[in-house]
Each structure stands twice: as C-alpha cells, then as structure tokens.
Amino acid sequence: LSCPLSTRCCAPSSAAPAMNCRAEVLEVSVEGRQVEEAMLAVLHTVLLHRSTGKFHYKKEGTYSIGTVGTQDVDCDFIDFAYVRVSSEELDRALRKAVGEFKDALRGSGSDGMGQISLEFYQKKKSRWPFSDECIPWELWTIKVNVVNLANEQERQICREKVGEKLCEKIINIVEVMNRHEYLPKMPTQSEVDNVFDTSLKDVQPYLYKISYQITDSLGTSVTTTMRRLIKDTLAL
C-alpha cells in the first residue's frame, strides 16, 4: 500500500535514519485498550518539547513568539497523567494517527506487535524538476507489544505497571531533550515553512510526520502504511 499523497510529497524517508538524524527507540507492552493513551502520552510529551509559539515576523528580520499553553491529561485505562500542549488541532492530528495505528494493530495479520514513529524533518528546496528533500533530524520510534489479560486482577496490575513504565519513558524523553543536540536553525520568514509546521493556529511544532508499521507473527512487515500528516505538500 502506498500513500495516495506520495506523489505529491517529498521523497519518502528511508527506513534507516539519515546521517545526523538521531534516533530514539522506546518499547512498551500494553493491553489493547491502553494503546491509544500510551501512544498519545509519549507523542504529546515529545511534541511538547518540539513545539514553540507561533512566530510573528516583524521588519528587519526580527520575530516574536507566541505563547504555548499546556494542560494535564488523565488516562482512563492507565494510572498515569501527562502534560500536552494546549492545541486542539495538534491533539486531533495525533489522535487520528494513533487511532489508525490502533486499528491496524487489531487487524488481521497482526499478533499485536507494531511500532509507530514520529519523525522531525526539514525541507530542503531543490530546483525543478527535482522534488524537495525531506531531511529527518530526529526520529522517535515506539515499539508496542499488545498483551492479552485474563482477568480483572491482572488488568488492575497492568494499569499500574504500565503507568510506572510510562513514567520511565517520560524521564527518558526528557533526558534526550536535555542533551541540546542538533536543532534546526531558527529560520527567516521565507524559510519558516521548511522548518516548522505553520498550519496550526495556536502553536508551531517542528515539521513532523507520523508513520507506523505492523509486524506479523513471522516478524516481517506485512503492512507498511505511510501517512503524511503535514498539510504543506509540494506540487511537482
């Protein structure tokens, strides 16, 4: 299956991250009904650190930055709470992607294992007839293993254990963020769309895309669905 947008997007990133792209992998084992909340917790935490306020460019190349609000989210199926950026658009986009991932995990050919990736990239404009390049600079992969539980007691324990695990993941994410490694340079007004997703009205995350893969019981990738969630696609 190929993404219907693929002809219009920039060339798909290869499976392996390019040079200078740091890659982080997180693994979680969750119950089916916990998949969405666990994924959202991780993705939102990453995006909290990778979103700024909206830029407002002024004359002479200076710009001011809007304000990012935050809010607490309580999980229903996990003893866990996390903070996300206050942006309904962003939340909707993540929920859409996570929902598709969850459905794919449930679908046939899957034994409950898969991974969802959040990639931050920069666009590099090329001359015609070449399409613009997407150069990833940070890739987060969450490997998910869905477990089935027999009874209510096990579910209760799972709620707590997954909650604890997610706490560890948040700490891991924050550690990575704290390394202050490569971040794209702050762009000029003409370049801002090559670095940031400026389509949202209240916050400005770095350009990102979410993709996922489901593994079948043989460990091979049965379904590779690439879905682009960026609005700013390039026309050839």
Binding site: T45, G53, G66, T67, G69, S86, S87, I170, N178, D202
Partner: protein, 550 residues
C-alpha cells in the same frame, strides 16, 4: 574574570532570565502539587508577559514566598533554590516527599548566546519540568489529597538538605542549561519508600512511650458520612485555575519563621473548614512510617514511634491548596474544585465548639518554637496572633482550620461503592478490594460503640478515653506496644517489629471474597433469560448444525 566576556546588557538579561526562571520553576512545581489538573491556553499573539513563551500562571502567594526565600539573590554555586514538597496527615504527621533543586555549577559556556539560546533552553527546561512533575510519586499523592492528608511546599535558599527523604531516595534530573556564568541544573530528589497507610493509622492516637495503645478507636471520618458536592472547575477552558483576587479576602496568611532561621518562611493559609480541625493536633513530632505502594499492606498496623516530647515540628509548609471560591454565605461549607464530593462533612455544631477543642488548637502553637513574623500580605483581615503571647487569636479563626482542603479528581471515585476507595485512604485505587472483609473481623472492628468520640478531642487524655466507648469486652485485644527483641528504637524503624506488624494480618484474597463472587454470579443469572431468548430464536440453526454433525 568570567564576567569580562559578557556584555553588561547580556549580563543583565541573563540575571533577569535566571530570576524569572527560578520563579516560574517554583510555580510549576507548586501548581503540580495542588491536586488538580492544570490547563492554560496557547496564544498565538505574544502577550509580552509570558516568560519563556509558556503560559504559566503566577499564584501571587507563591511568587511572594519565592521572592522572599531568594531575598534578591540568584542561584549560584553553593546557593541553591530548593522547593520541598511534603505531606501532612490530619493527625499532624508530616513527611518530606520531594526536594526540587535549582542549582548552579561552575561550568561555564562562554560561547552561548544569552538572549537567544539560553532563553530558549530555559523554556525547554520548563517544559521538561512540566512533564517530570507528573511522573514522580508525589504527583499521584497530591491528586488524591484532601481527606486524610494535604501536600505542602516550602521554599528555601542555600544548601540542599536531602536527609528528610529517608533512605534510598532517588534522583531524577530534569535538565541543565549552560550559561556564560555557570550551568543551571534542575533536579528532583524524591522519597521512594512510601509504605501503605491504612485508615487504622489515622485512628490511632499517638502513643507516649509505655502507654497502652488501644486499637479500636472510632474513625474521625466515618465512611458513612454524607459528602458535599464540590464545584468542579477543572473543565473550564478559560485557564483560570486559580482564585481570583476577591477570593483571597477569605484567606488569611500567617507567617511563622522556623528555627534555625535560615530564610525559611512558612505561611499557613487558613480558610473555613467543617470538621474538627485536624491540623497541628499535638505537640509531638510524630514521624510517619512513610508511604509506599504495596498491595499487601492494606491492613498494616503501623504504630507510631514518637520522638521525645518537646521536639517542635518545625515544618509547617504552605498548604498547596487554594479553594477557588469559598462560599461566603455558608462559611462552614467548603467549596473547591473536585470531581466527586470528597469534602468532609459539616459538623452538627459550629466548629468553634468545645473547650477541649480550643485548648487543642492553642497547644501546639505554644509548644512549638514558632515566632510569628508580621503577616505577609496586606489583605489580612483575620491575623492569627503570636503564639508566644499564649493566645491563639480568636479560637474561632483557628478552629476554622488552618488548611484548605481540596479534593482532587481521584478522591473517592465511587462514593456508594463499599471499597477501599471509600475509606479515604491514600492509594485507595491500588488496594485490593477486600476491605469489607475487614469490617467483619471483630479483631479489627469492634461492635458499635455508643458514642463517636473524636480521637482528636480525646488525645489529650489518652489514658482511657480513647477506649471508653468500647468498654470491657475488648480488654482481650488491647496490645502493649510491640517491641520485638533486637529491634531498633529509631525514629523510623523499618525492622522486625514493623515487618511483623505489617504482615500480621494479611488481607484475604479478593477471589475468595463472597461479595465479588456473588456479584458476578448475580450478573450471570440476570443475563440468563436474555441469552435463552436469543438461543430460542436460533433454534432452527442449531438443529441444522446438530444434523450436520451426525
């Protein structure tokens, strides 16, 4: 010498950044321990007042106290800003849960751009702080505060003191930001041995050495008491999580300075409260046995090992609770955000009741080494006067509590359900749901006693009153303080005696609980008629199927 490379404008900017970063750090930490969900709005147009491009509200009191603690200084090498988060039970026991440290070390980054890179990295660090404050154990505790305990904060500046966190505390680093004058580090040290506290502990009056402990004291907050609804405001999207200025007129602050007088300032916020004030109920510093998440300890019988009399509890931190509108019309009704009614009940008589109560409230202030500083905020209308005068101010004021209790979203989820959650214990979510079995245990619950005598009133006369209601029938069960051989006599023993007490009465397996079994069987029976009807409808298909098998 290290300053010569930095322009004076940069230096000024940097100092300002660090100062506001420190203030915002305190806000984030304290707000994360209020016990409710925080929500602020993003704004695409910069307002100019949102430091670090983040919408973090400023609770005025918190800023005030932070500024007082800093006293115009900035974090520097050897001078760290610390926010201590502690828990205080209704009996007055307190325990440090976390110390958040904002420190500066000598490692300088001369090349870094102050106005741009440092600023953005400080913003990133605040985001990390927002995330990390939700993942330490104290977060869950703070979400469930309100009944048996409250969460307090204390800000101090100087040397980091981690000794109150118990053994084996863990540290999590939130992040670092290099600057031309040093590297800013933000981290949290948190207690990990949190033993499970059952309601039994709250019933027990703190024993003085050698006096018989009576286990069967009536609960101060019987679970059958009616709950009052709280206004739940967390869902509002206007970002106004904090009380507006008008509300603060009902709130009065009293400052105590501690001994030793480092720049530690405590303010106790008081408000109206319903039940007999549970705060500061005794002069003993009764160390708590610590809290831990543990299934097995649901009926642990942690007893107190009181310290010597006269050791004043120096730690009265700020209650990190702010009720959003105290209802002026009904001064005894507590209103605050919270999902369920989790507020203690209104007593039938006004709070400023008996003589005994008045004595109790005054006593701790007399016995503790507090000296009141001048009230911190100018809007104090009812200032509690200095205890050294031997007065407690108006008993009415004092008895109307020192803490504002706020109910978090998780408090008492199923009110009607007879589960552990109904017993108002911390971590009720995590306890096995078998408390009803405890109720049947005569060892645990004596037959009904004629009067509900609050142990708070009785604890001044602990020799006999706490057991007065139960009479002679339970003499058999009175236990002298359990001191196993070779057990340590320290303040916080985690030793053989503790172990024995904790595991003396393991809870029964929930799968053996009749109630749960009966419940599911009842459900099964109920659904039988439906199932039969469906099967009857499909009887032809079934018959056909059977045919194929033959």
């Amino acid at each position: 010498a290290m300053d010569t490379d930095l322009s004076s404008q940069d230096r000024k900017d940097l100092d300002k950044f660090i100062k506001f970063f420190a203030l915002k750090t305190v806000q984030v930490i304290v707000q994360a321990r209020l016990g409710e969900k925080i929500c602020t709005r993003s704004s695409s147009s910069p307002t100019g007042s949102d430091w670090f491009n983040l919408a973090i509200k400023d609770i005025p009191e918190v800023t005030h106290e932070a500024k007082k603690a800093l006293a115009g200084q900035l974090p520097a090498v050897g001078r760290s800003m610390c926010v201590e988060i502690s828990l205080k039970t209704s009996e007055g026991d307190s325990m440090e849960l976390e110390i958040w440290c904002l420190e500066m070390n000598e490692k300088c980054d001369k090349e870094i751009k102050v106005s741009y890179t440092v600023y953005n990295r400080l913003s990133l660090l605040l985001k990390s702080l927002l995330a990390i404050t939700r993942v330490t154990p104290a977060y869950r505790l703070s979400r469930k505060q309100g009944h048996e305990y409250v969460i307090l904060y204390r800000i101090y500046f100087g040397e980091v003191q981690l000794s109150g966190l118990g053994e084996g505390f863990q540290t999590v680093r939130v992040g670092t930001v290099g600057t031309p004058v040093g590297t800013i580090t933000l981290s949290c040290a948190y207690r990990i041995n949190l033993a499970f506290m059952s309601t039994r502990q709250f019933e027990r009056t703190p024993p003085i050495m050698g006096i018989i402990i009576d286990h069967f004291v009536d609960r101060p907050y019987p679970s059958s008491s009616p709950m009052h609804p709280c206004n739940y405001r967390a869902g509002e999207d206007n970002g106004a999580v904090y009380p507006s200025v008008e509300d603060s007129q009902e709130v009065c602050t009293t400052s105590f300075s501690t001994s030793p007088p480092s720049q530690c300032v405590f303010t106790v916020t008081k408000a109206h409260f319903q039940t007999p004030p549970p705060v500061v109920t005794d002069t003993l510093k009764v160390p708590v046995m610590g809290l831990a998440f543990s299934h097995q300890l649901s009926s642990s019988r942690l007893s107190y090992q009181p310290a010597a009399l006269g050791v004043g509890s120096a730690d009265m931190g700020y209650p990190v609770l702010f009720t959003g509108g105290l209802n002026a019309a009904h001064p005894h009704q507590l209103i605050g955000p919270g999902k369920e009614g989790g507020v203690p009940p209104v007593p039938s008589q006004p709070a400023h009741g008996t003589q005994a109560d008045q004595e109790r409230m005054c006593t701790p202030l007399d016995g503790v080494h507090y000296s009141a500083a001048t009230p911190s905020s100018s809007e104090d209308t009812e200032t509690v006067s200095n205890s050294s005068e031997g007065k407690c101010g108006s008993p009415h004021d004092l008895l109307e509590t020192i803490f504002i209790r706020k109910v978090g979203a998780f408090v008492n989820k199923p009110i009607n359900q007879v589960t552990m959650a109904n017993l108002d214990i911390p971590f009720a979510m995590f306890a096995p749901k078998n408390v009803e079995l405890e109720d049947n245990d005569p060892m645990v619950n004596p037959p009904e006693s004629p009067e509900t005598e609050s142990p708070l009133q009785g604890s001044l006369h602990s020799e006999g009153s706490s057991g007065s209601s139960t009479g002679n029938t339970h003499d058999d069960f009175v236990m002298i303080d359990f001191k196993p051989a070779f057990s340590k006599d320290d303040i916080l023993p985690m030793d053989l005696g503790t172990f024995y007490r904790e595991f003396q009465n393991p809870p029964q397996l929930s799968s053996l609980s009749i109630d749960i079994g009966a419940q599911s069987m009842a459900e099964d029976l109920d659904s039988l008629p439906e199932k039969l009807a469906v099967h009857e409808k499909n009887v032809k298909e079934f018959d056909a199927f059977v045919e194929t098998l033959q």
